[in-house]
């Protein structure tokens, strides 16, 4: 975890600077930008990583769950309309501890992919995810999500049944959950379809995964006016784990076996499990209210802009004095 170590160094630096009241923001920014491995790669090399993230033999959500839990039971249905096979979830025992798992599910072959719609979920998938997350909250279980989707499905039925509403509601409700929420981008982290189950206290990316506001192909079509320029767009979008770690958007990178996660599912799953256990040790000491407040604060502080007449932290300090009252 080379980049992880660099990130740790940066964090140490930052806390040191805060203590000594020295402003090193601009230095950190420069450092972070250099850190982004995408910047050091040719678009062709970067594209190989994108292909790894989409590799058909990559471990899927259900495989990872099966590998890391002692036992797991899949729970189905959104209680409104259907059961979406592109989004799975259930309850498992992880080192004796009950955990709710939720994730996008791609197929291993053509037939399964058709059934699972290639991991593109419909509204009922997001609603099932929310139902299971609230069930976890009710019974005091942490939530672990696995993100692996090109996006929410762009089809007629998906719009008719309110894919926007389903994702939006999840963003709000996941923010408020009074239980630990951990998110792992295990392959493709495609836009709204990804973030719809990725509002967590800690968010991690597998080494060969990506997380982006728009697919490289979509970005190439729209901004470069040529879908074949996807590798170039991917390079511009800064969507690799190292980029997002440097940006402070994700909290860590999970190492994959040499050659990629598909080479050794067991090792990949073990690395994920180690991170879950490590994070839970930390998060389970907190109250539900604390977890929800920290999660909301984390996402409410995201974004980069310049502000005249004072640092933005003032605004958020003011906010937290409000929320503490209520």
């Amino acid at each position: 975890m080379e980049t992880n170590e660099i990130q740790k160094k940066i964090q140490e630096l930052q806390s040191l600077a805060e203590k000594s009241n020295v402003n090193i923001d601009s230095d950190i920014k420069r450092l972070s930008e250099k850190l982004g491995e995408g910047a050091r790669m040719t678009p062709a090399d970067l594209w190989k990583k994108i292909q790894l993230a989409r590799h058909s033999d990559r471990p899927t959500t259900l495989e990872i769950i099966a590998t890391i839990t002692e036992s797991f039971m899949e729970l189905h249905g959104d209680r409104y309309y259907g059961d979406d096979a592109a989004m799975v979830g259930g309850v498992g025992l992880l080192e004796g501890r009950p955990v709710t798992f939720i994730g996008h599910q791609k197929g291993r072959n053509m037939k399964e992919n058709i059934r699972r719609n290639y991991g593109w979920a419909h509204p009922e998938g997001y609603r099932k995810a929310l139902r299971l997350a609230k069930q976890a909250e009710k019974f005091g279980r942490p939530v672990v999500t696995f993100i692996d989707t090109a996006g929410a499905y762009p089809g007629i039925a998906s719009e008719e049944r309110g894919i926007s509403e389903a994702i939006a509601r999840n963003l709000k409700e996941f923010a408020m959950l009074r239980t630990p929420v951990l998110c792992f981008i295990i392959g493709e982290g495609g836009s709204g379809g990804a973030i719809g189950i990725a509002v967590g206290n800690e968010v991690f990316m597998l080494e060969n995964s990506f997380y982006t506001v728009i697919s490289p192909e979509g970005c190439a079509s729209i901004l470069l006016r040529d879908p074949s320029k996807a590798p170039e767009a991917a390079s511009q979008l800064k969507l690799l784990p190292s980029d997002l770690l440097a940006f402070g958007i994700v909290d860590g990178i999970i190492r994959e076996p040499d050659g990629g996660a598909h080479i050794d599912h067991v090792v990949t799953a073990a690395n994920i499990k180690a991170q879950i256990l490590d994070s839970l040790k930390r998060l389970e000491t907190k109250t539900g209210e604390q977890l929800a407040r920290e999660r909301m604060a984390k996402f409410m502080s995201m974004g980069r802009f310049v502000e005249e007449g004072g640092p933005k932290s003032n605004f958020f300090q003011r906010l937290f004095s409000i929320t503490r009252k209520s």
């Binding site: 926007s164 709204g192 006016r225 511009q236 800064k238 909301m296 802009f305 906010l319």
Partner: protein, 291 residues
Amino acid sequence: MASFQHLLDRLFLKKQAVQRTTPDTDERRLVAQKHSCPSCHEPLEVGELEANLFCCPKCQHHYRITAAERIKTLVDPESFVEFGEEIDSVNPIGFPGYEGKLSEARNSSGPGDSVTNGIALIDGRKVILSIMNFKFMGGSMGSVAGEKLTRALLTGLEKRLPVVLFTTSGGMRMQEGIFSLMQMAKTSAAIAQLEMAQIPLFIVLTDPTYGGVTASFAMLGDVILAEPGAAIGFAGPRVIESTIRQKLPEGFQKSEFQLAKGFVDAIVPRTELKKTLGFLIDTHSNNLRVR
């Protein structure tokens, strides 16, 4: 893998065409040029249009308006006080050409990015108002828009005032990469705060509202209104057509469709908005009065 790639290719092949049309400016320019409504083809003058809040008096076609025009047509005269105008965009992921696009947008639409915040009176009721502007880079939501929307929401929380948001957007601002995606979670988390404090949030969806804006704060109002005939959706029509390889049904994703599908509380003509919002504020203010 092959077929999956194929799906992706199909998905984005035609997207370009959608994003580049701006019927908005075209439409109002057409009225000036042809002295008729491009929707019903009846005679129409610019002055007449403006006098009717930019709605055709014959066919009720709602022309797109800017944030400034929205303020002018909605709030009590002289009551609007802007806030949050002191923040501005950077190029957070070093996206090629983004600075140029930004200054171009600033030149043509003025500063303030795609969101204008203020405190105002609507028919005598004090509210926090946040209005999106489609003219500024297609109303796309980047860090500044997300921050401004969040500040509007949190100001409502702080002052215990109802919040009214007007949406219009092509989606997220992809030039800000992952930072723009995070604005969906950011604005939604701010709404979670309002919800816990029982502060009412009213959304008015206007033409067009798409992508990450629809799939976040736009769908999280306590009451969600829409102007007639507005296009509202997650994926754009061309993206869907190229995915499913068929024509979309008439009226797909329009306000009336969203009402029928259960995602909009009411369709309210622009001329009725002031009265309607006033009524909703009155009937949702029990908690505000109590504390």
